[in-house]
Amino acid sequence: METGTAQPARPEESGAEPVWTGLPRGLLRMRRLLLVVWLVPIAAAVGVLLWIFAGPGWSAFAALPLAVVAWGWPMLGRNWRSWRYAERADDLLISRGVLWREETIVPYGRMQLVEVTSGPVERHFGLASVQLHTAAAATDARIPGLIPEEAERLRDRLTELGEARSAGL
């Protein structure tokens, strides 16, 4: 009950207080747009097809995708707010999730590879994601949807710190 109620905004870190950074608003916009772009045409198609082939009453099923949109809209917002990261002197903190909360600490010295990726849609919204790989494949340290300058700054800083503190396996 103590850790993280619905607003995981206040970390209870002992010692040096990490400086948390959230994700840019563009990511939320992109995700919401994708949600609408996919589900509204589906709703229209379902409605029209059912109207034609099964009768007007059946076309009420088109409300289902619309309900998903109505439910997903605030959910995406909550999820987006829950993502944040902090660079500390020796490690990177990533915290995320609303219902299933997850907080990952990756020491810089353990980084094997830092990857910046950006798909066509992400590029259109001016976003890029940063993924860190350690020798453990289970390490899931990904920061989605940063602005490219921030992603590149983070990548350069992480590799620089990783080299300075390199520890390998």
């Binding site: 600490i105 010295g109 396996l169």
Partner: protein, 447 residues
């Protein structure tokens, strides 16, 4: 330093002296000679009636000619693949050059070597040859040198380990086998008793005895019964007699090269794990062994498939071995492990009692399992990343899980810690693994 000396050495004696390419043992072509035969046999088994008809139609001369072609083809293929396989040991690498049509060159960095195994399948033992297998992180395909002469294999292993350890390149091949001091020798009697006391052995046997007759009553179809019964019989065999044969005469020794594990009744295996390569050690305690105080010790090495350190040993002996391979580590006693709070029972009834956690100044030790208890030890220096996870129900109950990832792609989880303690544990663990890494041994442990 050694790099400079090495470069000087190469200048001094260019080409052949420094990088001497070698071939595998001449027996090697036979290793693949059975492949065409297996193809023919497989084809025959696949369609027995057709094969018989075709065989009776064939004249004896045709048959002989066919056999000759298959044998010659196999021999030629085997010979060519042997002829085109070379390997060489340089100051820092093992180079393997192979392939007749598709050429492949592998350069294996010796300071990244995770384990070296010399194995001898039964046929190889008869022929007096051995296989050398090298484990490196990240390679999904194991690089192996098969086959080498017995002495050559152990000499090469000694040389590779000496070079990996950072001995001067000029003296590396004269260092020879490092002396071994024996730590554990598992007696066959103890191994047999331990297998009798293992639940899976009996489960497989009972299933093999019960399921096929039931299927027979249900279907009256011989093929169905055979198709399910034979794999089950194989499984039962593998988990009882097969394991006994594989783990027979198990010896664990310690040498400056690292940990030596020798075992096998028919197929002999000699594994070597250099110091500082062990990522996780697991102490497994099946329910039926608990009264006798026996445990099984498993280990994880990055990029290696070797999983067992000691198949069965009394707890004190096992703990002594663990103390040798992870210097300074003491296995926490069962009483030292802190159980989850009682409210965790709402998250996972009954089984929550099996969980436990102890953090010493050297290891993160988490236990799970109610009947078959497994205690995983991760040295702080081997932690790659730390993670805290908490599901909705766990949050409601105020507990959280702390996960620790190691380089062997294993995750050790301490489940159901009180939320506040888990958050503290998370940051403390990150701090501990960072500071203890500074004092860790170098990759080249003799340098």
């Amino acid at each position: 330093m050694s790099g400079v000396r090495e470069a000087a050495g190469e200048e001094h004696a260019p080409g052949t002296e420094t990088v001497r390419e070698r071939r595998l043992h001449p027996v090697t072509p036979l290793r693949r000679a059975w492949a065409p035969v297996a193809v023919v046999v497989g084809f025959a088994v696949h369609d027995p009636n057709g094969t018989q008809r075709r065989l009776s139609e064939l004249a004896v001369t045709h048959l002989l000619a066919g056999v000759a072609v298959v044998l010659l083809g196999g021999a030629f293929y085997g010979f060519m693949s042997w002829w085109f396989t070379h390997f060489a040991v340089t100051g820092t690498e093992l180079r393997i050059r192979t392939g007749l049509i598709f050429r492949r060159t592998a350069h294996i960095r010796l300071d990244r070597l995770q384990a070296v195994d010399v194995t001898q399948p039964l046929a190889a033992r008869i022929a007096g040859v051995a296989k050398l297998k090298l484990d490196v992180v990240g390679a999904e395909k194991k690089d192996e040198l098969a086959y080498l002469g017995q002495e050559e294999a152990s000499a090469l292993r000694a040389e590779l380990l000496a070079r990996a350890a950072g001995f001067a390149p000029e003296t590396a091949h004269e260092v020879g086998e490092a002396p071994v001091s024996n730590l554990v020798h598992v007696q066959p009697r103890m191994l047999a008793i331990s297998l009798v006391l293992t639940g899976t052995t009996w489960g497989m046997l009972v299933a093999t005895l019960v399921v096929p007759p039931l299927l027979w009553f249900a279907t009256h179809n011989l093929w169905t019964v055979l198709a399910t019964g034979l794999p089950m019989l194989g499984g039962a065999f593998a988990s009882s007699i097969g394991r006994f044969i594989g783990e027979y005469d198990w010896k664990v020794g310690e040498s400056p090269d690292g940990l030596r594990i020798d075992h096998g009744l028919l197929d002999k295996a000699h594994e070597t794990v250099p110091p500082g390569r062990v990522q996780t050690v697991r102490v497994v305690e099946p329910w039926l062994w608990r009264r006798r105080g026996w445990v099984r010790v498993e280990l994880d090495v990055a990029g290696s498939s070797n999983g067992v350190l000691v198949p069965v040993a009394p707890r004190e002996v096992a703990e002594a071995v663990i103390a040798r391979i992870l210097p300074g580590v003491r296995v926490p006693a069962p009483a030292e492990l802190i159980r989850p709070p009682a409210r965790a029972a709402w998250c996972l009834p009954v089984w929550w009692k099996g969980y436990g956690l102890a953090v010493t100044d050297t290891v993160f030790a988490a236990r799970h399992g109610l009947l078959r208890r497994r205690l995983s030890l991760v040295p702080h220096a081997k932690v790659q990343s730390v993670r805290l996870t908490q599901g909705p129900w766990e949050r409601f109950k105020g507990v959280a899980d702390v996960e620790v990832d190691t380089g062997a792609n294993k995750t050790v989880t301490a489940r159901f810690r009180p939320a506040g303690e888990a958050a503290e544990l998370l940051s403390a663990q990150a701090e501990r693994s960072r500071t203890s890494r500074r004092t860790a041994r170098p990759d080249r442990w003799m340098a």
